[in-house]
């Protein structure tokens, strides 16, 4: 098997995640789809690391994880406060920015 397949898998997962972000209305699920996209990226980075024979790709994947953790913390806090103020976790309910 050619390790390039890992990249195809990553692309597939990324696309699924992106489509999920677009389709789902529940902010938590949207957020999970974002995480899925990040993970797909990480997989691609790890595969790159293997292809190039150095560890820089893994380092970047590591940083992605750290940033994702920070993002999750803040994002979930936002969802919680949104739910508190609107009693809803739907991203469509926060649609005040329109004419």
């Amino acid at each position: 098997m050619n390790p390039v397949n890992y990249l195809y898998l990553a692309a597939l997962l990324f696309t699924i995640g992106a489509t999920g972000v677009l389709i789902r209305r529940n902010a938590i699920v949207v957020f999970m789809c974002v995480e899925l996209m990040l993970n797909a990226c990480n997989l691609a980075l790890v595969a790159f690391s293997r292809m190039h024979g150095n560890l820089d790709g893994q380092i970047i994947a590591f940083f992605t994880m750290v940033v994702a953790a920070a993002e999750v913390v803040v994002g979930l806090a936002i969802i919680v406060s949104l739910f508190r103020s609107r009693h809803s976790a739907s991203v469509d309910d926060a649609s005040l920015m329109k004419l």
Binding site: N5, R25, M32, L36, N39, V46, Q58, I59, A77, S88
Partner: protein, 269 residues
């Protein structure tokens, strides 16, 4: 574990890739299309564990473990906590409310995926060095050497970012109580003043055949009173409505009674 230096991987890894890759894709699809957030979270956790295995297969041992510990262990649990906190809402419905959104999303997704794959196919990826040399001194030691030398600045920055995120989350979710909590007496007086529901809310299952929190109590005319069920269950739509059952029971009771009365009438005749 695997032959890292080869251009093509071993048959074992290929087998592992195809099997686990399929499951990962199914898990991802389930994440998107499961109706309930809890199910989505669980499917995502599964996908992430499979990804952790792939990390290990690609020689990223440290990342593989971190993926399991941090992502599946910590972050996904955080997700589940929030799901629990928020509860099930109408937003869980998969019914689309924005016109054309679903088709546009699918079209974009499809196009994007095709283009991405085309890009990968286009790229010259003939060099496949493997990590044998890089991992020679140990994967963790190699990463550490890089993190604390070449990437130390970025590393420090991520530390700052994490602290900021933690403070930010607290600021966002924490609500300072600015007024004294109301005593029970005050609450009672308030209720009297408003004049809405003076006595305590009726208990569920009152006048009903079943006594359970998810069954609405029946009013004297046999209809169900939603007031008797707690708000969370009401919002989730998890009320088991047994009013018809009760009315049917009443009808059967009356019929039986009439039958008996009829018999008694016949007897008196």
């Amino acid at each position: 574990m695997t032959d890292l230096a080869a251009y093509t991987t071993s048959a074992g890894e290929a087998f592992q890739f195809w099997v686990l890759g399929t499951i990962a894709v199914i898990g991802a699809l389930c994440t998107v299309f499961m109706k309930k957030a809890v199910h989505s979270a669980l499917c995502l956790a599964g996908t992430m564990i499979i990804l952790a295995v792939f990390y290990l297969a690609n020689g990223a041992y440290f990342l593989g473990i971190v993926q399991v510990v941090v992502y599946t262990g910590a972050i996904m649990m955080l997700f589940l906590f929030v799901v629990m906190l928020v509860g099930v809402t109408a937003a869980d419905s998969l019914k689309e409310t924005i016109k054309g959104q679903r088709w546009l999303a699918l079209l974009c997704g499809l196009g994007f995926g095709i283009l991405l794959c085309a890009g990968i196919g286009n790229a010259s990826l003939n060099e496949f060095n493997g990590l044998g040399q890089a991992n020679a001194g140990g994967n963790v030691e190699g990463l550490a050497a890089l993190i604390f030398t070449k990437y130390v600045f970025a590393f420090e920055l991520t530390g700052a970012l994490l602290i900021t995120a933690a403070v930010g989350a607290m600021v966002l979710t924490h609500r300072e109580r600015t007024e004294r909590a109301k005593t029970q007496r005050e609450l009672a007086e308030e209720r009297v003043r408003e004049g809405k529901q003076l006595p305590p809310l009726p208990a569920p299952g009152v006048y009903a055949r079943h006594n359970a929190v998810d069954i609405a109590g029946l009013l004297p005319d046999g209809t169900a009173s939603e007031l008797t069920v707690i708000k969370t269950l009401r919002e989730r739509g998890q009320i088991r409505d047994v009013s018809d059952e009760a009315i049917n029971d009443l009808k059967a009771l009356e019929q039986r009674a009439e039958e008996r009365l009829g018999r008694e009438e016949e007897a008196t005749k």
